[in-house]
């Protein structure tokens, strides 16, 4: 009976049951759970059974290209945009961080130390590729054309904030730039990004999901990896490993070979890159996207970096790391400085141009800042909208009652502070 059943099964080319049609006939193990070999030697597989995954780079710490093959040879305009966007991000960070410190906005998160990750990856993508960010990806938006004014408007939650003032600062979202609105709870974007990639299969677009070394510990991260692999979704699961999750250093976050080592364990093609090297990030993202589209499969990228700023304005990182450590990274392996040296060596940039650009950009951001601060708040009736797609009757009634009330008692309300 059993034999007959086996024979019957053998006729069915069902790969879910057998790894190959003659699985039962070959010498090796034929368990459905693994395609592997036998061994008669009992020993642990340990962390040191494999060499750690190396970090791919193009430039050394001084901005010199090591192997000319690695230089993506980008056109001058692209190179300059990349560098200028990195500096624009720095300027936005400085001004908005200060404005939080002055009590003008409630919260802010800087991007220092991750400029090359944002710009290098964004430059390798197309605008149609969908971004699911975590919260520290403002550079991707800068690259895609989110203006200084739009950044300021979001942080102030004024009339022109695309989010209608409903979210905390830095929770940017821009449908026209295919940038999904940031969600406060960590890692929720990861399975969602895989789902979005599933929906976009075969449409020539990839989804890029950014997350941190801390976020990778959430259960959601494992679900995202596993579903990305099994559903074969064109998603780049892009880890920004900056060494700290708020105060928790990576040694307390994981004991394996970082996040990259998990990729192959899930059957996902994986790259580890120097996150301080904009060209390494660019090349890796380019290759990842090509593979995602050609194979309709996910890729894990782990960009190694160092978070130079505090986690957020609610954090004081001097409580858990030394200023020396921060200074060391800021001066010896700085992603923006590295690119600047590269450009100067190529004769594409000079100290004079730098000064001029920084001055102009600062003025532009300050102008946006002043304008944003003065703008009225969104129309008061916005507070009744968007809880449901179609406004339920009871909410509509509340809104109409309020309108009548405000019309009647205009003088009692600061109506001039709101968009009409």
């Amino acid at each position: 009976m059993a034999t007959r059943k086996c024979l019957q099964l053998l006729k069915i080319p069902n790969r879910r049951l057998f790894h190959g049609n003659n699985a039962l006939l070959k010498e090796g193990p034929s368990f459905p759970g693994a395609q592997t070999t036998w061994t008669e030697k009992l020993s642990f597989v340990t962390k040191s059974s494999y060499a750690p995954i190396p970090v791919y780079r193009v430039m050394d710490r001084k901005g010199s290209v090591i192997d000319p093959e690695g230089d993506p040879q980008l056109p001058r305009e692209t190179l300059l945009k990349m560098y200028k966007d990195m500096r624009t991000l720095n300027i936005l960070d400085k001004i908005l961080y200060e404005s939080q410190r002055q009590g003008r906005i409630s919260f802010y998160m800087t991007n220092y130390g991750e400029e090359a990750i944002h710009i290098g990856s964004a430059a390798a993508l197309d605008l149609e590729d969908v971004i699911y960010g975590q919260y520290r990806e403002a550079g991707v938006l800068v690259w895609r054309g989110f203006t200084a004014q739009q950044f300021v408007d979001q942080c102030y939650g004024n009339r022109d904030d695309l989010g209608k003032g409903r979210q905390m600062p830095v929770h940017y979202g821009a449908k026209h730039l295919n940038f999904v609105t940031i969600s406060s709870p960590l890692s929720t974007q990861m399975p969602q990004a895989v789902g979005a990639a599933y929906a976009l299969k075969g449409k020539g677009r990839v989804v890029v999901c950014y997350y941190g070394d801390g976020a990778a510990s959430e259960g959601d991260a494992h679900a995202a990896f596993n579903f990305g692999a099994t559903l074969e979704c064109p998603v780049i699961l892009f880890c920004r490993n900056n060494g700290y999750a708020i105060s928790t250093p990576v040694k307390d976050q994981y004991r394996g070979d970082g996040v990259a080592a998990r990729g192959p364990a899930f059957g996902i093609h994986t790259l580890r890159v120097d996150g301080n090297d904009v060209f390494a990030v660019y090349n890796a993202t380019k290759l990842a996207k090509k593979y995602c589209l050609e194979e309709s499969k996910p890729v894990v990228v782990e960009a190694m970096a160092y978070r130079l700023g505090h986690h957020s304005t609610s954090d004081d990182s001097t409580a858990y790391r030394s200023q020396d450590e921060v200074d060391q990274w800021a001066t010896t392996d700085n992603p923006a400085t590295k690119m600047k040296i590269y450009l100067m060596k190529k004769g594409l940039w000079s100290e004079d141009e730098e000064k001029k650009f920084l001055k102009e950009k600062r003025e532009e951001v300050m102008t946006a800042f002043t304008a944003g601060e003065k703008k009225p708040k969104p129309n008061w009736n916005e507070c009744f909208k968007d809880v449901y797609k179609f406004m339920p009757e009871h909410i509509e009634k509340q809104m109409n009652d309020m309108k009548k009330h405000v019309d009647k008692y205009k003088k009692q309300y600061p109506v001039d502070q709101y968009e009409t």
Partner: protein, 360 residues
């Protein structure tokens, strides 16, 4: 688990909320203590008392907790008793539940209860039901604690009250303390309790000082779970509240008092078990009832209390229908003015009371 995981509003809470204290039970010479320090001393004392007690969560060790509730405990008790975890609420809650099953007494800290939704299966399906499912063989002595409800300026995803969620579930005990005495006495009770206890703190109250009686300062000050406290006796109307809404109610009662209305303010302290007897006894005396809470109205704590009154003898003592005052039925707005408008304030309680009592 959020960016904003440590959106600590310590400064804000400290500045905005050094407000007057209306508790009638205070002692003139009583020592003042912040809610944060009261929680900290409860943890410290229970860790000294019982070696099985340990703290697990994100940022609880070297960083002293996102809101500094565990300040100094890592230095005092070391890595073995104060454990920083990787970022996974589901993960560390599961670890803590397992440790409790095996006989330890974990105190599991969430940066906020908003993030505990990641772990809610462990809290309800595992911690809350294991004693029953194991036919009484395995109990789960564990405390789930952290800030709950609205803080200030942190948006819809950081501002939700989970009182009604957990109070819904048999198998759990749910505490929603108000002041420093509540926090100390009830957290100690929660740690000593043989069952899983959800302990819902309030971020805004962390920095507020309240008087502590000599008794409350002692090492064996433990308050009973499931007992409400009459914060202020009165005869004209019963106001039932929990957590920060107690403060709102006491302020309203103070104002009403100047108009000759004596409100009885009941601080629920526990949401499950719910001390309905204290409420019904009060309603029998005052013949009027208002509930005040910051959570949403639908299927909320107020809804539960009103339903129980309706089902009891107390219903016949009511001169007017009982009223719920709740947070507004909307995701919490980020805008400051709207956020303030979305939560009940003393004026709302005063106006509703006057309306019920038909006083101008």
């Amino acid at each position: 688990m959020a960016p904003i995981k440590a959106t600590s509003l310590l400064n804000l809470a400290g500045k905005a909320l050094h407000r007057r204290q209306f508790s009638v039970s205070k002692i003139a010479s009583a020592k003042q203590m912040t809610v944060r320090d009261a929680l900290n001393s409860a943890l410290d004392e229970e860790m000294t008392r019982d070696e099985r007690v340990f703290i697990i969560g994100e940022e609880v060790a070297q960083y002293d907790g996102a809101y500094k509730v565990t300040r100094g405990l890592w230095k005092k008790y070391g890595d073995k008793r104060v454990i920083d975890t990787p970022i996974t609420e589901m993960g560390f809650t599961g670890i803590a539940v397992g440790a409790a099953m095996a006989g330890l007494r974990p105190v599991c800290e969430y940066m906020t209860f908003n993030f505990a939704m990641q772990a809610i299966d462990q809290i309800i399906n595992s911690a809350g039901k294991t004693f029953y499912m194991s036919a009484g063989r395995v109990n789960v002595p564990i405390v789930f604690r952290g800030p709950n409800g609205a803080a200030a300026g942190v948006g819809a995803q950081h501002s939700q009250c989970y009182g009604a969620w957990y109070a819904h579930c048999p198998g759990l005990k749910v505490i929603s303390p108000y002041n420093s005495e509540d926090c100390k006495g009830l957290l100690k009770a929660a740690i000593r309790d043989p069952d899983p206890v959800v302990f819902l703190e309030n971020e805004i109250l962390y920095g507020v000082q309240y008087p502590m009686s000599d008794q409350a300062l002692s090492n064996d000050f433990v308050l009973p779970i499931g007992k409400a406290k009459i914060e202020r006796p009165g005869k004209h109307i019963t106001i039932v509240a929990h957590s920060r809404a107690v403060e709102t109610s006491l302020q309203a009662a103070n104002e009403l008092s100047s108009k000759g209305i004596e409100a009885e303010v009941i601080n629920l302290r526990s949401l499950r078990p719910l001390d309905i007897n204290t409420i019904t006894a009060s309603v029998a005396k005052t013949n009027h009832l208002i509930t005040v809470e910051q959570g949403w109205p639908s299927a909320g704590i107020g809804a539960e209390i009103l339903a129980r009154i309706m089902e009891s003898e107390a219903f016949f003592h009511l001169d007017q229908p009982a009223i719920r005052l709740t947070g507004v039925d909307t995701p919490m707005p980020y805008t400051k003015s709207l956020e303030m408008a979305a939560l009940p304030v003393p004026k709302d309680v005063v106006e509703m009371t006057k309306k019920l009592l038909k006083v101008k």
